[in-house]
């Protein structure tokens, strides 16, 4: 399988700081997979994704060692335009990425930069608007819409550019539960389409884990753990110790496992329905053994 992103021995220290924000990062992200990045605040999650999308080192000053490659091309040598056609970034604060005066202008801005003709722009615009359901907002100012709508618009802006790699930095951090669900629905659609590499930094592990192919834990600027969601929480006490709280259903299943109610080889569930099945099996086994 082709790797969309390859990071080798990456180290990064921001200007005017004493410690490296990223240390010894080695990571391969296969094409068309979904990577969830978790970790407590100030552990290097945003710095890591900024390195992948080229903001580091192009827009930040600091010490850069190692390499980040997007489909074999080093980010260090790519122009902003070249990176933007390969990697789309949705910022944590959607307002931080507004560059235009109406939602429609905002959506087409990136497409105009990438040199699409008008027909293609219209086609991409209609598609992105359809996926994110913001057709009724096109005429509005990006500042005059709700938080959830802002985030959907920010995602639409990236989708419109159709990059093979999409990165989202805490896309649900500033919106209400309904808005969060809507964002995760979009992520689910993108994942099901299976034609993009998706990297999402998110604290809402309950929703992230069922979507991700791999979960990555950042701690002290390093990759502390990387595993598929089914095995990511095997070492649950340490995960919790690093400030990351697993889905409730995973914690409960872990307790069942530790208490001997389910076999040690049991894979920990991260979805509610998987938890129900596990519980039913455990109850059935207990009844049969009685």
């Amino acid at each position: 399988m082709t790797n969309a992103v390859v990071i080798k021995d990456l180290e990064w220290k921001y200007e005017h700081t004493t410690q490296f924000a990223l240390r010894g990062i080695n990571l391969e992200i296969p094409e068309n997979t979904f990577l969830g990045i978790v970790g407590a605040n100030e552990q290097g999650k945003t710095t890591l994704i900024n390195s992948i999308c080229g903001l580091i080192p192009h827009s930040f000053n600091g010490v850069y060692r190692g390499s980040v490659e997007i489909y074999g091309s080093p980010v260090l040598k790519m122009s902003g335009l070249e990176i933007a056609t390969q990697v789309g970034l949705v910022f944590a604060d959607p307002e931080a990425q507004f560059t235009a005066m109406t939602v429609e202008e905002e959506l087409v801005f990136g497409l105009e930069n990438t040199g699409y003709d008008l027909g293609k722009i219209k086609e991409r615009l209609d598609w992105a608007v359809g996926v994110t359901m913001i057709g009724d907002l096109l005429d509005k100012s990006p500042y005059d819409i709700s938080g959830g709508q802002k985030q959907r618009m920010a995602i639409a802006c990236v989708l419109a550019m159709n990059p093979p790699i999409i990165i989202m930095d805490e896309p649900t951090s500033m919106i209400d539960p309904l808005g969060k669900q809507f964002i995760f629905d979009i992520l689910r659609k993108l994942k099901d389409a299976g034609d993009r590499t998706i990297i999402v930094v998110e604290h809402n592990i309950e929703q992230l884990a069922p979507l991700a192919d791999q979960l990555l834990l950042m701690q002290d600027g390093q990759i502390a753990r990387m595993a598929p969601p089914a095995h990511f929480f095997d070492d649950l006490p340490n995960i919790v110790g690093s400030g990351v709280y697993p889905p409730e259903v995973t914690s409960f299943a872990y307790w069942l496992k530790q208490s001997g109610y389910v076999p040690p080889e049991q894979v920990l569930p991260n979805r509610f329905d998987e938890g129900v099945t596990l519980m039913q099996d455990a109850l059935r086994n207990a009844r049969d053994n009685r």
Binding site: L81, A84, F91, A96, M101, L111, T114, G115
Partner: protein, 306 residues
């Protein structure tokens, strides 16, 4: 922004569009015209008063802009927010000219009780005030009925380079964001118990100086964020775009010039050139031709103004 407003009596009013200084209905007649036509109208109302000294004509331009606001279905009640500015400008201008009229011996003194004022500088100030009002109302007309987007479309249609129009748009937005941040800081202070009305004038001045620190740090942070956003969206200031293509301008394709646009532009341009020629070629709009000036000269026994 298009929005619905609840009219008195619970009736849903027409959908409104947010403009730079207020709201107008989406169906406003202004939107039948191309943004370029509207920009040229702004230039006309903003620049023509420069040619005109006669306060009567400038007053007529003010009335004209108010009639256009009515025609455009703009909310005239919003004009009230400009009243303090309009009154303050008048007080400031007339106070200066009354207290410091200059010492030209040809000035005609008028004694009002213990006060002596001089006719010529006062009338010149009166004329200048209406010129300023005509320009102000022209600006209010444009910014009350147009959005940033309309302005950018107009500038780009007139072949202003993308970067230049982008900077104009950003400047407008930055001013709005600055005011928003300023209000946020003030609200935060009030929420923590600051009663500004209880402060002495000196302390209030100090308070305003103190606002500069958070406002500048917020502005710097925003500049950083916008720079990152532009990078992430592939923008570069060389104007170079991907695929080796010329930059497409999608938004411009949403607007078309009609025959009515060309007609309005032709009329405005003709009036503009006519006004310039009449003033600079024949001095047609100078103060000696002002009917009010002539009347006052006769009432004061000064003969014909020169």
């Amino acid at each position: 922004m298009a929005t619905s407003a609840e009219a008195p009596g619970g009736v849903r009013a027409a959908k409104l569009r947010k403009t730079l200084l207020g709201y107008v209905p989406i169906e406003s007649p202004f939107y039948r015209y191309h943004p370029v036509t509207r920009l040229i109208m702004f230039v006309f109302f903003g620049v023509v008063p420069i040619f005109i000294d006669m306060p009567e004509i400038n007053f007529a331009l003010v009335v004209c802009t108010i009639l256009l606001l009515v025609w455009g279905q703009a909310d005239l009640k919003r004009l009230r927010i400009y009243m303090p500015m309009i009154v303050t400008i008048a007080i400031f201008m007339f106070l200066v000219v009354i207290l410091a009229p200059g010492n030209d011996p040809t000035f005609t003194p008028i004694h009002i009780g213990p006060l002596t004022i001089y006719y010529q500088p006062v009338y010149f100030t009166f004329a200048s005030y209406w010129r300023l009002m005509a320009m102000l109302f022209g600006t209010i007309l444009y910014f009350s009925t147009n959005r940033e987007r309309d302005m950018l479309v107009a500038l780009r249609s007139l072949k202003l380079p993308f970067l230049a129009s982008y900077v104009v748009g950003f400047s407008i937005r930055a001013a709005g964001m600055f005011m928003e941040d300023f209000n946020t800081i003030r609200e935060a202070e009030q929420a923590r118990g600051l009663d500004k009305s209880a402060l002495k004038l000196g302390d209030q001045v100090k308070l305003y100086v103190m606002y500069l620190v958070p406002l500048f740090s917020i502005a710097l942070r925003r500049a950083d964020e916008i720079s990152h956003a532009l990078f992430a969206r592939g923008y570069n200031f060389t104007g170079r775009v991907g695929h080796g293509n010329k930059r497409s301008d999608y938004i411009l394709t949403q607007y078309t010039m009609t025959g009515m646009d060309w007609l309005v532009i032709a009329v405005l341009m003709t009036l503009f050139v006519g006004a310039a020629v009449a003033e600079y070629g024949f001095g047609a709009f100078r103060l000696p031709h002002s009917p009010i000036n002539i009347l006052l000269h006769h009432l004061l026994g000064l003969g014909w103004p020169s």
